[in-house]
């Protein structure tokens, strides 16, 4: 059985109910089991709420955001899918999140593990810079 990991790239801004102007992108997605190896990027998919909403909300919640937050105004939402074949496989995603209202940038390493056929977050780590994030993604 194949599990799917979805990577989201988002640009969203709105002034309701409070002002937000955010950008979320992924530096790199790594699927590993034992040794790390970069996988070929999946096909771009249209946002399908039935399939993508829960993984998107799960990822946004790490940033204190919700789908509702990003859907109030202008939104550019891209989805890429990765197939994960092996049980216990680990997916590491390096997320760069920019909040243009506060001017803050966040670098987050999110690790997912495939357990019982589905992907679950196994760890979340906040890092200081793009370099730290790349190092973490490339480490064994």
């Amino acid at each position: 059985m194949v599990s799917k990991y979805y990577r989201f790239e988002i640009k969203a801004s709105s002034s309701y109910p409070r002002k937000i102007d955010i950008q979320l992108r992924s530096l790199k997605t790594v699927v590993s089991k034992g040794k790390s190896n970069e996988v070929k990027e999946g096909e771009k998919e249209e946002f399908d709420p039935l399939e993508h909403l829960i993984p998107l909300e799960t990822q946004l919640s790490l940033l204190g955001l919700t789908y509702n937050d990003i859907s109030h105004g202008s939104i550019d939402l891209k989805v890429k899918a990765f197939e994960v074949h092996e049980e216990n496989a680990e997916i590491r995603d390096g997320i760069v999140f920019e909040d243009k209202v506060t001017g803050k940038k966040r670098f987050i390493l999110v690790c997912y593990r495939r357990e019982g056929g589905s992907l679950k977050i196994s760890s979340v780590k906040e890092l200081d810079s793009t370099e730290d994030l790349i190092d973490a993604l490339n480490s064994d």
């Binding site: 709105s14 002034s15 309701y16 109910p17 409070r18 709420p49 039935l50 909403l53 829960i54 909300e57 799960t58 919640s61 790490l62 204190g64 919700t66 789908y67 509702n68 937050d69 859907s71 109030h72 105004g73």
Partner: protein, 821 residues
């Protein structure tokens, strides 16, 4: 068969609460941990997602934002647009299955803009649930929730001591089994066989009833039609409208407007008042013949009913000839157990005067099959309306307290004990003590207060147990706007005064009903400032499915109330004196920056509520905003908090605040008898402690005026749900936002309470009492003759201008019977 989709009756998870009456907190914990997942809404079953299309704006409409909102019909999650038009703010959504729904969101766009400047989001809570559903179908709470719990509601009981009585006209027919013989009867003909020798008063209605022996009707039992015993035939006189409902399958029933009908919604049966029904609503009627034949006990009853007679009976009930086993129901018809999911095609009204009837049946669902085979409710019995009594034991409440007290990073400090009517519980003071022992600082009891009018000791005991304030229904100053407790309010206030237990008056505001009394309500609250801590108004939340024309008649939103208060107080309290709930968040941010610890912060959506404080200055009322520059103060605190976060010295920040604070106060404009130090203390109590009950030292001077507009499915906005700070603790231990618990009751409140409920009959057997025994009867003559009554309303209304007959009529119309002794 090929044209018919069978939907098996759904079995919802239930616990056998009878076995848990002596269970320990630990046992409730074990059960709760399993029930949470069984009771959670299920995608595709309880709701659908339609999030690809956004509603378009039309000419003359200005976009404010998009959001998500539930369909009032099927609960599907839809995109919605919030926009400005004609000076008002609106919300519109379109369900692919049920069409477009448009509703006023806020009645004044200018005030909407003012309030929107003061939105602050919270840090949320450490989640108790993983995200497995779209919001708002994952409540419990999850990582999407943005506000910590500001107030927890706990339902102590679903029992209530107020009631109503709904009926059917005498020409309506019903299939009965009388001494084993199956026959259709009109209610009139059936009634003629019995002696109505018992008198009954239910709600405001007088009537009579007979107790039949060997009489059965077809009851709705878990999707099957089964014979159930009729324990009473009731009748009363009715003058007024009768609703005539016709279905696509040609069936018809006539009922009084309040009578509840079984409606098939999202795979479940709910009960809706006849006047809440819409064309297109799915209702149930008898369909499936073989199970019916079995249930008729036909083999045994052949001596009474011939095969041809049986055919006639079926034809009568299902309006279809007897075929090979299943009724031909036309395209797209569905079955629910033994019933067709039919659809309302026409709703009409008729004037009526005469006898109307109802049955009391021994079906747990309180549903039976009436005219033309349609399923209706035997629904004149209160908690019996739900069919179960939900009343958590003290050990169960301990479990719920344990669960709610886990909340982090900000712990829970305030609780409201609510109902039904919580004062019906004999152990209410024990419940208050449990919360106090758990460390809850503020406990309030939400009640009609009627019991306090007769039991002053209850107020004393609740105060001693640690109750901080009574949160009391108060819909107006006259019997006509407040038939719930107008006559008792003076006595309630008197007894609360003696017990030194403060009260917040809570009017539900309905356009065309009690809005004209807003000024008088404020005046009444000010008159009783010694014991009244606040007036917290709640613009109506429209429950059930209500046609747009009726919604427009009743709908009022926060800004319209503010404008009306301004008019009715001659500008003493203007619309500009009010601020949204999160307005005070900068104070919490400042304290948080100073202490480094997460603080209690009010971060609800700006559109949810409004508040101000007023001071009594002679005969005048002075809002706090007239002598304190509250906006300047909040802006200053927010800036200081940010400076501390960026490394500024905390000591320096405090020093600066101490020297600066006086500059925000115009002492010349302050109430004359309010001293400089008192004003500064006031700022502390109001803005730092967020506690209007802490205003005790300002008796006779200060009144909190608040407003909370709970949502309904017409103005529902997920952005508001995610910021909700008023939550319910559920019997399984989940904390659910108010506007999910009550706006989507079928997935939250009712589902959970039913699971942990006890069937009414069982509850009555165990307790040795009947629910009906609790019904309140009002002696108006005695209440209005007391000096306490006259004094309480003196200067507010002319009590002598209301005749005794009008008093009685007001009470009876509402449903509370009047007695002379």
């Amino acid at each position: 068969m090929d044209r018919t989709e069978t939907v098996p009756p759904k079995e919802e998870p239930l616990v056998n609460y009878l076995d848990l009456l002596d269970a320990s907190e630990e046992e409730f914990e074990k059960i709760g941990s399993k029930m949470i997942f069984k009771l959670m809404p299920k995608p595709g079953v309880d709701y659908k997602l339609y999030l690809l299309e956004k509603p378009e704006l039309r000419e003359g409409e200005k976009l404010i934002a998009y959001t998500q909102s539930a369909c009032p019909e099927c609960l599907s999650l839809l995109n919605a647009v919030i926009f400005e038009r004609d000076g008002k703010v609106w919300i519109r959504k379109r369900c692919p299955e049920h069409g477009e729904i448009e509703e006023v969101y806020w009645g004044d766009a200018e005030l909407f803009r003012k309030f929107s400047k003061w939105q602050f989001d919270g840090k949320g809570v450490e989640p108790s649930l993983d995200i497995t559903n779209a919001c708002p179908y994952n409540c419990g709470l999850c990582a999407r929730h943005k506000s910590h719990t500001a107030l927890v509601n706990i339902v102590a009981t679903n029992r209530c001591d107020l009631s109503c009585w709904y009926c059917l006209p005498g020409d309506q027919e019903i299939l009965v089994r009388l001494k084993g013989s199956v026959k259709p009867f009109s209610f009139e003909d059936l009634a003629s066989r019995y002696e109505f020798k018992y008198r009954i008063k239910v709600g405001g209605f007088k009537g009579e009833y007979a107790v039949p022996r060997d009489l059965e009707v077809l009851g709705f039992v878990n999707g099957r039609a089964e014979w159930v015993k009729v324990t009473k035939i009731l009748r009363r006189h009715h003058k007024g409208k009768i609703i005539v409902i016709r279905t696509r399958l040609g069936k018809e029933i006539k009922v009084t407007p309040e009578h509840k009908i079984a409606v098939f919604q999202n795979g479940k049966i709910i009960k809706l008042r006849a006047d809440e029904l819409n064309i297109g609503d799915k209702i149930l009627s008898l369909a499936r013949i073989p199970p019916l034949a079995e249930s008729l006990g036909i083999q045994n009853a052949l001596g009474y009913v011939s095969r041809s007679g049986l055919k006639l009976l079926y034809a009568h009930m299902v309006k279809q000839p007897l075929t090979s086993g299943i009724v031909s129901t036309g395209p797209k018809s569905r079955l629910y157990g033994d019933f067709i999911v039919d659809e309302i095609a026409e709703i009409g009204y008729e004037d009526f005067e005469g006898q109307v009837y109802d049955l009391e049946v021994e079906a747990e669902s309180h549903l039976f099959i009436a005219g033309d085979g349609l399923v209706i409710s035997n629904c004149f019995f209160y908690a019996g309306k739900a069919g179960y009594v939900y009343e958590p034991t003290l050990e169960h409440i301990k479990y719920m307290i344990k669960m709610m007290m886990k909340q982090r990073p900000v712990s829970i400090k305030a609780v409201q004990i609510t109902g039904g009517e919580p004062t019906l519980r004999d152990d209410l003071t024990d419940i208050v003590k449990l919360f106090k022992e758990a460390g809850v600082k503020h406990v309030q009891v939400n009640t009609t207060g009627i019991k306090f009018a007769y039991d002053p000791e209850l107020a004393v005991q609740l105060r001693k147990a640690g109750t901080n304030v009574i949160y009391m229904s108060f819909d107006g100053v006259t019997p006509f706007t407040n038939p719930k407790n107008h006559w008792e309010v003076p006595y309630i206030l008197e007894n609360l005064r003696k017990a030194k237990l403060g009260v917040v008056l809570v009017p539900t505001l309905i356009k065309g009903y009690n809005i004209h009394e807003l000024g008088l309500m404020v005046k009444f609250a000010v008159k009783h400032m010694d014991i009244v801590r606040g007036l917290n108004m709640q613009p109506v939340s429209i429950t059930g499915r209500v046609p747009r024309s009726l919604r427009e008649k009743e709908r009022i939103t926060i800004p319209e109330v503010l404008i009306e208060i301004e008019k009715q107080t001659n500008g003493q309290i203007s619309r500009e004196d009010w601020y949204p709930v999160p307005f005070v968040a900068p104070v919490s941010h400042f304290v948080e920056a100073l202490t480094g610890r997460p603080q209690f912060t009010l971060t609800t959506h700006f559109a949810c509520g409004a508040a101000t404080y007023v001071f009594k200055d002679g005969d005048e009322m002075i809002p706090i905003t007239r002598f304190i520059d509250v906006e300047g103060f909040m802006t200053y605190l927010e800036r200081k908090a940010e400076e501390i976060r960026r490394g500024k010295s905390k000591k320096l920040a405090i020093l600066e605040l101490a020297t600066k604070i006086g500059k925000f106060i115009d002492f010349k404009k302050a109430p004359r008898d309010l001293k400089r130090k008192q004003i500064i203390n006031l700022l502390y109590n109001i803005f730092i402690k967020h506690d209007y009950t802490a205003l005790g030292e300002f008796h006779y001077k200060t009144l909190f005026l608040g407003m909370m507009h709970f949502q309904d499915l017409y103005n529902h906005d997920v952005a508001r749900v995610q910021r909700c700070g008023i939550h319910y603790i559920m019997p399984d231990g989940r904390l659910v936002p108010f506007c999910s618990f009550n706006v989507i009751p079928q997935l939250y409140r009712d589902r959970a309470q039913r699971a942990y409920g006890i069937p009414v009959k069982e509850w009555e057997r165990i307790k040795g009492i009947r629910l009906m025994d609790y019904k309140y009867k009002r002696n108006i003559r005695k209440l209005i003759s007391g000096e306490t009554y006259r004094k309480a309303y003196e200067g507010i209304i002319d009590v002598d201008s209301i005749s005794y007959e009008d008093h009685v009529l007001a009470s009876k119309r509402f449903g509370i019977p009047v007695v002379e002794e």
